[in-house]
């Protein structure tokens, strides 16, 4: 068999819809559950439409204002830049930490994901402290006559910060897919004497496409919705314009109009992603058991690879942590009270664990419908889960205030509502990973199990779920980490007096008490780090047991 034939076998069939799936209509229960989840995710959008309608004829004036268009362009540009750079970095890191003999691979696997745990305002603040015109690096270079470093503010700084704090989205989704990938095809190509490079670009990369796109999508939406980094680094983005409207004029309808433009942009991105994703079947078609892929020897590339990982970790994790420790030290020297109770640790972990479980559980039926029973209905439901993801959290928070005060007053500002809000906000993060790994599970296993007399639910539990574990776990890890640092939802929707690590960091920095923000910030990073470490270790064991 030639190499081309292997590629053909691997892909050509895969490009078609799976005929088996087409013929089988989804069980009505599944459709109802998925549709309910999709509708829940649309609540913020419905609120925005209501508010925007209040603006009446001013609607178009707001949309076409030159200023609106300028900031819109700024956001589009920033999103394009960050998504490209974060995707490239993410693919490289995911591959290096799963498929190569990179020294201390397991350590890098964890630490390269950790920049994601930093709230973007803390991270951006640290970057300014380190790389600002008169930051720590300049102080080090001062003996060499360096008076000030080139300005970090504006587009370059925002690009750097958002890339550093969002590339782990791509690492996590791509790594899950790499783990689920059947090495047989790569083996066949290798046996035909193809170079590792050809194998990577011709076989591996195309197989990773859904997960790369899922990760890239999260990066794009994160960049669009971010407020912390762009405001710290003084880049005039669309979210900043929305915030300024809120802060100064309390003009909710004008802010809603702008937010709807953001939703329109999201839909455009989703459409593009769907076009690029195509409808591929990626599970193993052959017989025999899957096994772990052999490691690629890096050879002379070993040192540059380590340097890349180290560089990313330094900028995205070590520097911010150093700055935090520096604050802590300053506060300790000044004799400030640095720590107040374990309450916030418990609250943060409880909220993040529950949010992870609820969100992954909600993502599963939606992903299942989208992958196994593709069609217009499934597509619509999946899109609605993403629709609000580029919105700044404050809009989602206000939308849920609006709905729950009116229609579920008993739930207002309860822990249950808070979880609901987290799930609404972070559903796409879980959806991306779950969907990508579901693509790698062949329905034939399930058919076989059903043929052996198992009931559908038991098939799902004993066959599908274990195969989905990598995707479920990375979805869970993503939601956990982002919930830990989430701010506006927690501030407005949590039970009164519910303080978390993130709200403590925020309130201390709000009063410029950086020393008091330091201890919770450090605990946040360590806790998320331990958790991600455990999750990734589990993922690893799954593959090699």
């Amino acid at each position: 068999m030639t190499f081309e034939a292997i590629r053909a076998e691997a892909f050509d069939g895969a490009r078609d819809h799976d005929p088996a799936a087409r013929r089988r209509p989804p069980p009505p229960g599944l459709t109802i559950v998925a549709a309910a989840i999709g509708l829940a995710a649309l609540l913020p959008l419905a609120y925005l439409l209501l508010r925007a309608a209040e603006s009446g004829p001013a609607f178009w004036t707001i949309v076409t204002r030159p200023r609106t268009l300028t900031v819109l362009w700024n956001s589009v540009l920033l999103t394009a830049l960050v998504t490209s750079s974060a995707t490239l970095i993410g693919i490289a890191v995911a591959w290096l930490t799963t498929r190569t003999d990179l020294p201390a691979r397991h350590v890098w696997a964890v630490v390269t994901c950790l920049p994601l745990v930093l709230p973007s305002y803390v991270g951006a603040f640290a970057l300014i402290g380190a790389l600002g015109p008169r930051g720590m690096v300049q102080t080090l270079l001062a003996p060499l006559g360096v008076e000030r470093l080139p300005s970090l503010y504006g587009l370059p700084g925002a690009w750097l910060a958002l890339t550093l704090f969002s590339y782990p989205y791509v690492v996590l989704t791509v790594r899950a897919a790499l783990r689920g990938l059947d090495p047989a095809v790569e083996d066949a190509a290798r046996s035909l004497g193809k170079s590792p490079r050809r194998i990577f670009f011709d076989i591996t990369l195309p197989h990773l496409r859904p997960s790369i796109l899922a990760g890239g999508l999260l990066v794009a939406l994160y960049t669009l919705s971010d407020f912390g980094a762009v405001s710290m680094l003084q880049f005039n983005s669309f979210t900043r314009a929305i915030f300024v409207l809120y802060r100064t004029s309390f003009d909710r309808s004008a802010a809603a109009v702008l937010a709807l433009m953001l939703v329109a942009l999201t839909l455009l991105i989703l459409w593009g992603e769907a076009r690029a994703r195509g409808s591929s079947r990626l599970y193993r078609a052959g017989v025999g058991a899957s096994r772990p892929s052999p490691r690629v020897r890096l050879g002379i590339w070993k040192i540059p690879s380590v340097l890349v990982c180290a560089g990313l970790t330094t900028l995205g994790l070590v520097l911010p942590v150093l700055v935090i420790v520096f604050w802590l030290f300053q506060g300790w020297k000044a004799g400030e009270p640095l720590w107040r109770g374990w309450d916030m640790v418990w609250n943060s972990s409880r909220a993040a664990l529950c949010a992870g479980a609820v969100t992954v559980a909600a993502a599963l039926p939606v992903a299942w419908l989208a992958v196994r029973h593709p069609g217009r209905r499934a597509r619509l439901i999946e899109r609605s889960a993403y629709a609000g993801h580029a919105l700044p959290s404050i809009m989602i928070a206000l939308a849920l205030v609006f709905w729950s005060v009116r229609y579920a007053p008993g739930l207002y500002q309860s822990f249950g509502l808070l979880l609901f809000a987290y799930a609404c906000r972070f559903l796409p993060e879980a959806l991306g990973s779950v969907r990508a790994s579901l693509l790698h599970v062949s329905p034939r296993y399930e058919e076989a199990a059903r043929g052996l007399g198992h009931r559908p639910l038991s098939v799902f539990r004993t066959v599908t779920l274990p195969l989905l574990r990598p995707g479920l776990l990375s979805g869970f890890a993503l939601v956990f980490m982002t919930t830990m640092k989430e701010l506006p939802l927690t501030l407005l929707l949590s039970p009164t007096g519910f303080s978390t690590l993130a709200t403590r960091i925020w309130s201390a920095t709000e009063d410029a008490l950086f020393a008091q923000a330091a201890a919770p910030a450090l605990v946040l990073v360590v806790l998320s780090g331990i958790f991600v470490g455990v999750i990734l270790k589990q993922e690893e064991e799954d593959v090699y047991e």
């Binding site: 200023r67 600002g132 015109p133 008169r134 930051g135 503010y153 405001s231 710290m232 003084q234 900043r240 300024v244 809120y246 802060r247 100064t248 004029s249 309390f250 003009d251 909710r252 300053q330 506060g331 000044a334 400030e336 409880r350 529950c354 479980a357 609820v358 559980a361 404050i394 928070a397 206000l398 205030v401 609006f402 005060v405 009116r406 008993g410 207002y412 500002q413 309860s414 822990f415 249950g416 979880l419 501030l491 407005l492 039970p495 009164t496 007096g497 303080s499 709200t503 403590r504 309130s507 201390a508 920095t509 709000e510 009063d511 410029a512 008490l513 008091q516 589990q538 064991e541 047991e545």
Partner: protein, 340 residues
């Protein structure tokens, strides 16, 4: 074999435990509360001890939701009549004005209002100022002396200041200053000032505290801030190379703004809510603001910090703060000048 078993056990149980935990937490929710609920747009670190003190003195339970002033105001507007909040403690008068306009605030008793000079409260009595914040210029003491600084804000439009100043045009206090400038000298003058500063390529900051940090680090020479941020920065580093500058001449640049409180019209806890506002205006609480947050107490005869000039020792803009409610107009001007 054993590890494999525990592993599997762990795996089977983990999801179950998580979901049980999630549901358990939902069930644990307490019933709708009767304690006094405060929405507080001021930072928790500095304000919490005051609420604790009130709780002890009055024996009333207080629940406080901390958040950004604008975000909490927007939340109250969305909540409408059903708002659980009894008292709103805001960072600036603008947010209180917005709630007043929407009819969300109750009228306070004269006995409360008269403790504070008329300029620092709502004329209809719907909110009252609690503490004062002076607009000042913070400057780097290594690079500048007080004599190098201009007599008024206009002085900073001089090209000599190109690339040396910082401001926070998104900040509410800054916008209140621009509004004061418009009220005093007209939109044209205000626009000219904004353009003049813009021509000097000022560094833009999101927060006042960041301006103080940048001044202390020597990234910029001077910045437009509220007076108390310097003292916040000195708490962690007493030796920073920065000092506040009060203009020698009364003009919009010597505005004194307030943080204030209002009682929600929808509150069914009116009496308790009013007693909290009264507490915030008590000599004890006022002295706390002077001491801990380095702000100006608004009630007479409360001692100041030694390192802060008394308001009667420096020029203060005489203006009715209620005239500063045209923020949309100010925002338009800021946009027109190409600042935001």
């Amino acid at each position: 074999m054993k590890t494999k078993f525990t592993n599997t056990l762990f795996r089977r149980l983990l999801p179950v435990a998580l979901i049980a935990g999630a549901l358990g937490s939902i069930a644990m929710n307490d019933a709708p509360s009767s304690p006094l609920v405060v929405y507080c747009g001021r930072g928790e670190e500095l304000i919490r001890p005051l609420f604790e003190q009130f709780q002890q003195q009055s024996g009333m339970a207080v629940e406080v939701r901390y958040g950004g002033t604008a975000e909490l105001a927007a939340t109250i507007l969305e909540e409408g009549d059903r708002s659980p909040a009894d008292v709103f403690f805001a960072q600036d008068a603008g947010a209180l004005g917005a709630l007043k306009k929407a009819g969300r605030l109750a009228t306070l008793d004269e006995s409360l209002l008269e403790r504070v000079p008329a300029t620092y409260r709502s004329p209809e009595g719907s909110w009252v100022g609690i503490s004062g914040r002076a607009r000042v210029v913070v400057y780097n003491t290594d690079r500048l002396k007080e004599a190098d600084l201009p007599d008024d804000m206009d002085g900073f439009t001089d090209p000599a200041w190109k690339g040396r100043i910082g401001w926070a045009p998104e900040n509410g206090s800054f916008q209140a200053f621009v509004t004061a400038l418009r009220v005093r000298e007209g939109d044209e003058k205000a626009l000219a000032w904004l353009k003049g500063i813009q021509a000097n390529e000022p560094r833009v900051f999101a927060k006042n505290s960041a301006i103080v940090a940048a001044v202390a680090a020597g990234e910029i020479d001077a910045g437009f801030v509220n007076h108390y941020y310097l003292f916040g920065a000195r708490k962690t580093n007493p030796d920073i190379a920065a000092e506040n500058y009060y203009f020698p001449r009364q003009h919009a640049g010597t505005l004194v703004n307030v943080a204030g409180a209002g009682v929600l019209a929808s509150s069914d806890n009116q009496e308790a809510a009013r007693s909290l506002v009264a507490f915030l205006l008590s000599p004890d609480a006022q002295a706390y603001f002077a001491r801990e947050t380095s702000e100006y107490p608004l009630v007479e005869d409360v001692p100041l910090r030694e390192d802060i000039p008394a308001l009667n020792a420096v020029p203060v803009l005489e203006i009715d703060l209620n005239l500063l409610d045209d923020l949309p107009g100010t925002l338009e001007l800021i946009h027109a000048a190409g600042v935001l």
